[in-house]
């Protein structure tokens, strides 16, 4: 790398690079900046042009009102509950199963794993109807259990964790076995601590997907007290269609948890993608 850089006549290229980067950043961030700015405005000022990015008199009341106009607190609680349960279940069961698929031998291992792989490519929309009917038969529609069952046992999690475990040398497990450690012990004491990047990747994926899920709750939850924040915001839009300031404030609130998790784990996330065999 240093060799190459010294030889290049850099200046113009570098300026062009920074200009492009600036342009991309603006494209990516402008909608969020606009959202934040609109969340602090009166509805009539939201579309004022030229855009006033920093409102002269920020209307913080918007962020107070959203909690009373709709049961936003309840929606946040519901979503948080679902997301945490699903993420924990997903991490536990996926890494548990992945250990067997990566490090143990048992009859029908490859056939079972193939079933997992085949369903990854299967669009959810292909089986969302039978799944719904099944949940209805089990009496689980209009309950959070339906969404937990729907999202806690994905093939993707098992696949991702297995890919990571394959890269851990077998000798490590072998040595532990000779020392008399049980398979459960190996999973808990060796595999889990080693797989932090993969677990972080799976955490972000599951957290973000469950928190942001829209179609699942739309189909399964009709009772207001069960709804999640994504459905709540939509309800808000249809009920208070013109109150842009409030809608934007609620949207900002819905983005905060994802932003936090993402910023905390994003280093692992990039590493995780890089180390789980997606390089081809």
């Amino acid at each position: 790398m240093p060799l190459r850089r010294r030889r290049k006549p850099v200046k113009w290229g570098l300026i062009l690079t920074y200009l492009t980067v600036a342009l991309v950043t603006v494209t990516m961030l402008a909608p969020f900046a606009w959202m934040l700015s609109a969340s602090l405005k009166l509805d009539r000022d939201v579309f004022a042009f030229p855009i006033q990015w920093v409102p002269e008199q920020p209307r913080w009341e918007n962020f107070v009102e959203i909690w009373t106009k709709i049961p936003l607190g309840l929606f946040v609680y519901n979503t948080a509950k679902l997301t945490v349960i699903v993420t924990v279940l997903q991490l536990l069961t996926s890494s548990f199963a992945a250990y067997a698929f990566a490090k143990l031998r048992f009859p029908y291992r490859n056939a079972l794993f193939l079933a997992y792989i085949a369903t990854i490519a299967m669009p959810w929309q292909v089986y969302m109807v039978p799944q719904f009917l099944l949940m209805r038969e089990l009496g689980l529609t209009n309950s959070h259990l339906s969404l937990i069952f729907l999202q806690a046992f994905t093939a993707f999690g098992v696949f991702l964790m297995r890919q990571f475990y394959m890269s851990i040398p077998d000798e490590l497990c072998e040595a532990a076995r000779i020392d008399g450690m049980s398979e459960y012990g190996i999973w808990w004491r060796i595999m889990l601590p080693l797989s932090m990047p993969a677990l972080s990747t799976l955490t972000i994926f599951t957290f973000v997907n469950t928190w942001n899920d829209f179609l699942g709750p739309l189909i399964y939850l009709t009772r207001t007290e069960l709804k999640t924040i994504q459905i709540g915001i939509r309800m808000f839009i249809t009920q208070y269609g013109q109150e842009y300031g409030l809608i934007m404030a609620a949207s900002v609130v819905s983005l905060i948890p994802v932003l936090i998790v993402f910023l905390l784990l994003q280093r692992f996330f990039v590493e995780g993608i890089a180390s789980t065999g997606l390089k081809g």
């Binding site: 606009w34 548990f96 143990l104 079972l112 039978p130 942001n212 949207s251």
Partner: protein, 315 residues
């Protein structure tokens, strides 16, 4: 793949030989105990419904009355259903536009942010953020930004001197609605594929570039002769995922246009959703879903074959 198990390592000692069979059964049970918690859920809530979906495609059912065998009724109906044909075509248009665009944008972004520039990590995070942001929230913003009457995008275009009559009406216009959804989708997902491309770029050996430098290759030559061919497996992976995703497009459509105006953005999944949860024609909805599945399967096979040939050419 060649994981050696306790059974094979302990084979040599005769004392263990006696209980080898029991040991093997025990090992199998341990292995099954590992997969059971996930597999049971997966079997009941994913695998089962998938098999049921295939069966439903050949049944008449509204979810309440007894199920009746329909044979190929639903299959023949596909050929008469104009809305299905529109949805099919719209899905292809969406795919044809969004896949190459996302591919080029995410590769460009990755090349840009793979350079050693100031604040590189910050820019990567920024580019990735739309992907993790809630679709509902960003779709609302998008709708407001692209509002035909008073959205900032059209205001900027107006101030650039475009006649108000010629301003695109975006999601509200038959001819622009699909383009709006494509733009939105590319914007939302390019950061994710950028990360995958970045991982691919880091996998390219720097020796290749050093050798090219010695031969006096230009940046352009290095890109076409080294970077792009080396990224072929990544591009294959990304294009498969992108194509599959774009066949499954729904949320964006539901949030931005509800399939309209008219049927201009009605896509396959939207049709499946309508037939299932609005008309309660579960058999027919499953048949359309089956078509979607066949499409995904076909693309996967075609792209897989193509990539294998590509790799042979390289070696």
């Amino acid at each position: 793949m060649s994981a050696s198990t306790p059974a094979t390592t302990a084979k040599k000692t005769p004392r263990v030989q006696v209980s080898r069979r029991r040991r093997r059964v025990q090992n199998t049970l341990i292995a099954y105990s590992f997969i059971a918690p996930n597999f049971l859920g997966f079997l009941i809530f994913t695998l089962g419904p998938i098999l049921f979906a295939f069966a439903l495609a050949f049944m008449h059912w509204d979810g309440n009355t007894p199920i009746e065998f329909a044979g190929l009724d639903h299959f023949w109906k596909l050929f008469e259903d104009r809305i299905f044909q529109t949805a099919f075509w719209n899905t292809l248009v969406f795919t044809g536009a969004s896949v190459p665009l996302t591919l080029v944008c995410s590769l460009g972004l990755a090349l840009l942010l793979n350079q050693k520039i100031f604040g590189r990590n910050f820019f990567r995070t920024v580019a990735f953020f739309p992907y993790v942001a809630s679709l509902v929230a960003v779709a609302v913003v998008w709708n407001m930004l692209f509002n035909p009457e008073y959205g900032p995008v059209n205001m900027v275009l107006y101030n650039l001197g475009i006649d108000p009559k010629d301003l695109p009406r975006w999601a509200a216009d038959r001819h622009w609605a699909m383009a709006t959804i494509v733009m939105f989708s590319v914007w939302k997902s390019m950061g994710y594929f950028m990360v995958i491309y970045l991982a691919g770029l880091q996998g390219i050996s720097s020796e290749l570039y050093e050798a090219a430098d010695i031969d006096g290759a230009t940046a352009w030559q290095k890109f076409w002769r080294i970077t792009l061919p080396q990224l072929a497996p990544t591009t294959f992976f990304v294009s498969v995922i992108l194509t599959i995703n774009s066949f499954k497009v729904f949320d964006q459509v539901y949030m931005l246009t509800q399939g309209g105006p008219g049927t201009s953005t009605l896509v396959l999944v939207y049709h499946i959703y309508n037939e299932a949860f609005i008309s309660w024609d579960l058999g027919y909805s499953s048949m359309v879903a089956l078509v979607l599945f066949m499409l995904v399967l076909m693309i996967t096979i075609v792209q897989f074959r193509w990539s294998q040939r590509g790799e042979e050419d390289l070696s």
